[in-house]
Amino acid sequence: MKRLASVFLVVAVASAHVFAQAGGQGGRGVGGPPTGIPGGAGGGRVGRGGARGGRGGAAFDLTGHWVSIVGEDWRWRSFPARGDYGAVPLNQAARKIADAWDPAKDATAGEGCKAFAAPSVMRIPGRLHISWRDDQTLTIETDAGQQTRLFYFGVPPPGQVEDWQGSSKAEWDLGNAGAGGLFSRGGGPASGPSGSLKVVTTRMKPGYAARNGVPFSASATLTEYFDLVKTKGGVEYLVLTSMLDDAVYLSQPMWTVVHFKKQRDESGFKPVSCSGK
């Protein structure tokens, strides 16, 4: 009888645990059409922890129009000046190049877009339009410099031309979900949208990591985390934490953080070419 009771107990505990595991991330469950909305049903589920792909696995909805919030770093972002590098960890080789920064010369040489490359374009005050090109490709269009960034979930298409925006591989990063040991149902919270969009960009055409001529090289790697934050008042912010790693010009990885506020519509989105044409 005792043995039977212990079997029952084990079965009950195991069934609860298995069910909890199978439930996945609070409603973003198995199957269903890809919706790309927070908490919506989605295909391509990868279970607890790790990374997920595409619109169907979206941890949150970042599509729409966003405007830069320029904070107390306004001086660097709105009025870049030669030699005003702040704490950018540039090495001697980079400083030599940056000290010779001449935007007019860049424009004449047809390189006016160097400052609008992936490592810097998101810090330039402006507006973004984010949309899904298809289920596996997220697009960010900037009005400042009229750039388009393409984030590929999965393998970027072969033969992609190297340009200022490089080649970006994206995945939904679920953070620490999946942590835990015996009897654990995961280290993540019980409910709510969860995770970040992680984007790694390589193969960028050398340009500027900051508008005032701080260079980055062809071997640079840009790692970005996009997070959605919603205030109690319902205002949505897109927070971008990024790290530029460039052994050629930086003495250590350069971390920056910027954020954007969600707009109701496309008002204010005025594309201005970086080429000056």
């Binding site: 079965v11 439930g23 609070g26 904070g71 770093d73 009025f79 919270p189 970040s196 971390w255 953080v257």
Partner: protein, 620 residues
């Protein structure tokens, strides 16, 4: 066999149901008062700010660099009036860091969890910062925020919840601090939402500050912390204030008169940046800024216009913390001293084995409820009442509270031989002038026990209680009461958190006496750490504070006095002084254009008492 299968099936169903409940988020995690089981991303460890973010979003920055901050006109004037030498004033030397300024110090931080010993639920996050030894607690157990009349601190009162993998923290009860430590103020009405995100060894903190007093729209700003592999060995930051300018009078608070800040252009000119942009405002947060300052002449004109008061007088945008629900709210301030709020002016009550010692009796509209509230605190009768002023909103309950009490110290003494009924009601104590004014104005139940110039003292309920007369402050009959063991000062109308000081020149009030009385309070206060805690102050109106708010109030009165005095010295008439709006940076916090005490009345009182100081006002 059938029976066994049935039991197995039932258990499986129960297990599945429990699992489903857990997954729905409605399970044990949400049990009120316990805190969550899981912590979301673990923020624990030792951290330092990212240097690049720190430098570009620094807490201090250059003088007159207000760009990227949606400050309003009042905040800009406040900041332009602020000289760095303000920090030589004693109470400013060890000022703490407000949230979210907290994360912008170039020093070490530690974050850890508080777990309940028995349930292992996460009850709180703790944030410690080396600079100013800031120590914040973020409660995760669902407790409510304190009432509006509770004291504020630099760290505020914080509660947290999880939104997915984001720790979201709401902070209220902040003190007046810096949005940027070059003079851009954050008011004590501000609330802050912080959102903590972790990516590997980096924490990103997005803070959204909502300040109805000094901001035109919420200010959002991001900080970044980098994990330190080894625990650093530097964690302390001692600060003791002291005299820095020998011989300086106690009524001196360094400030720039409007339009006379010699450093207002320094940052913009040095950096070759348009002054208009450097002066901040919501437009400097958005991409259109560069277009807005493209025309140098127009930009310069607009900038100059922003450096002087303009537009109609503003009114206070800070919510009045006084409850107005027709009930008396009791709040324990310290030791055995309590605040009773809800019937006009604040009432303080000290209780103990001897009885109740009451300071002020409110407006008298809810006196029965006041008596009932005191009875809940003390089974013994009200023995003493002190009136800090004669004003009816402080003395309106005298009659009922007096008759509800008794003073057994008089029964069977020579007093009872001389005065019929001595000891059968509470004894009301005040300055003689208070009694005189009440009799003159036919106010009921005037004090029965008076003093003239020197302190009145009692040892009551095991505590030294001192009553200090203050000459010619808001009237010629103000008093302060200091409960020394609880270390609580009851300030009467000398200090309020809701309006400019009600300086009644017709009844002997004066600006110099008001400043002197505020400094008297500051001479008796001691903080626990970096201008937080220690001696607590119950103001005549508004919320409980410590010395920081008294210092801010004193600074305001001194600065307004300096401006009025400068205008008078240039020959300005009262009307010209009023038109110059010498309170323009403070009106959003204390101002009123209607009601019993308006901004103009205050300015006129300052002007009048400077022109015709009371004869007994000695000045210092």
């Amino acid at each position: 066999m059938k029976r066994t299968a049935f039991i197995l099936g039932t258990l499986l169903a129960i297990g599945a149901a429990v699992g489903a409940q857990i997954q729905s988020g409605a399970g044990p995690d949400d049990t009120a008062g316990l805190g969550p089981v899981v912590a979301g991303p673990d923020l624990s460890g030792s951290w330092r700010p990212n240097q690049l973010v720190l430098e570009s979003q620094t807490a201090a920055g250059d003088l007159a660099d207000f760009g990227g901050i949606p400050l309003n006109d009042a905040a800009r004037l406040y900041a332009l009036s602020w000289p760095a030498s303000r920090q030589t004033v004693r109470q400013h030397q060890c000022m703490g860091y407000v949230t979210p300024y907290f994360w912008y110090a170039p020093a070490n931080y530690r974050i850890w969890q508080e777990r309940d010993q028995f349930t292992q639920r996460l009850t709180a996050w703790r944030f410690y910062g080396q600079v100013a030894q800031g120590d914040r607690t973020v409660y995760m157990d669902g407790r409510p925020h304190p009432p509006a009349y509770a004291p504020h601190t630099f760290g505020g009162f914080s509660t947290g919840t999880y939104q997915g993998n984001t720790l979201s923290v709401t902070t209220t009860h902040l003190k007046r601090g810096w949005i940027k430590a070059n003079g851009v103020p954050q008011s004590d009405a501000a609330t802050v939402e912080e959102h903590y995100l972790r990516h590997g060894d980096v924490i990103t903190v997005l803070a959204v500050i909502d300040d109805p007093v000094y901001l035109t729209e919420p200010l959002s700003k991001a900080a970044m912390l980098v994990r330190m592999a080894r625990d650093p060995d530097a964690w302390l930051y001692p600060c003791d204030d002291s005299e820095q300018i020998f011989g300086r009078k106690s009524d001196v608070v360094p400030n720039h008169l409007f339009g006379q800040n010699p450093y207002a252009r320094e940052f913009a000119d040095t950096r070759k940046i348009p002054l208009l942009a450097a002066l901040g405002g919501a437009e400097t947060m958005y991409p259109e800024l560069v277009d807005a300052v493209r025309d140098p002449a127009a930009s310069e004109r607009a900038a100059k216009a922003r450096m002087m008061p303009a537009g109609p007088p503003a009114v206070s945008r800070a919510p009045d913390p006084t409850p107005k629900d027709g009930e008396i709210h009791t709040f324990r301030v310290s030791g055995n001293v309590h605040l009773l709020a809800g019937d006009g002016a604040n009432i303080a009550v000290q209780v103990g084995p001897q009885g109740a010692f009451v300071v002020d009796t409110g407006a008298g509209k809810l006196s029965d409820k006041v008596v009932a509230a005191i009875a809940k605190l003390s089974a013994k009768p009200i023995q003493f009442i002190v009136n800090t002023t004669f004003r009816p909103d402080h003395t309106g309950g005298n009659a009922k509270l007096q008759m509800a009490g008794a003073d057994p110290s008089l029964t069977g003494t020579f007093f009872s031989m001389q005065f019929q009924g001595a000891g059968q009601a509470a004894t009301i104590i005040s300055q003689l002038k208070t009694q005189t004014r009440m009799i003159e104005q036919k106010l009921p139940a005037p004090p029965t026990d008076t003093f003239v110039e020197e302190r009145r003292r009692k040892h009551y309920n095991g505590e030294a209680v001192e009553v200090f007369p203050q000459q010619n402050a808001t009237t010629d009959g103000d008093s302060l009461v200091h409960f020394r063991r609880a270390d609580v000062i009851v300030a009467g109308d000398i200090f309020t958190t809701t309006e400019y000081p009600h300086i009644d020149t017709k009844n002997g009030g004066s600006v110099q006496g008001e400043i002197r009385a505020l400094n008297f309070i500051l001479d008796r206060t001691v903080y626990v750490h970096d201008e937080d805690g220690g001696t607590l102050i119950i103001p005549g109106h508004g919320r409980v504070t410590d010395e920081w708010e008294v210092a801010e109030y004193r600074d305001m009165v001194v600065i307004v006095r300096d401006r009025v005095q400068a205008l008078m010295q240039s020959g300005a008439t009262l009307q010209q002084v009023l038109a110059a709006r010498p309170t323009a940076d403070y009106d959003v916090r204390y101002g009123a254009t209607a009601g019993p005490w308006t901004t103009d009345m205050f300015v006129e009182a300052v002007y009048t008492s400077l022109k015709n100081p009371p004869k007994t006002s000695t000045g210092r």
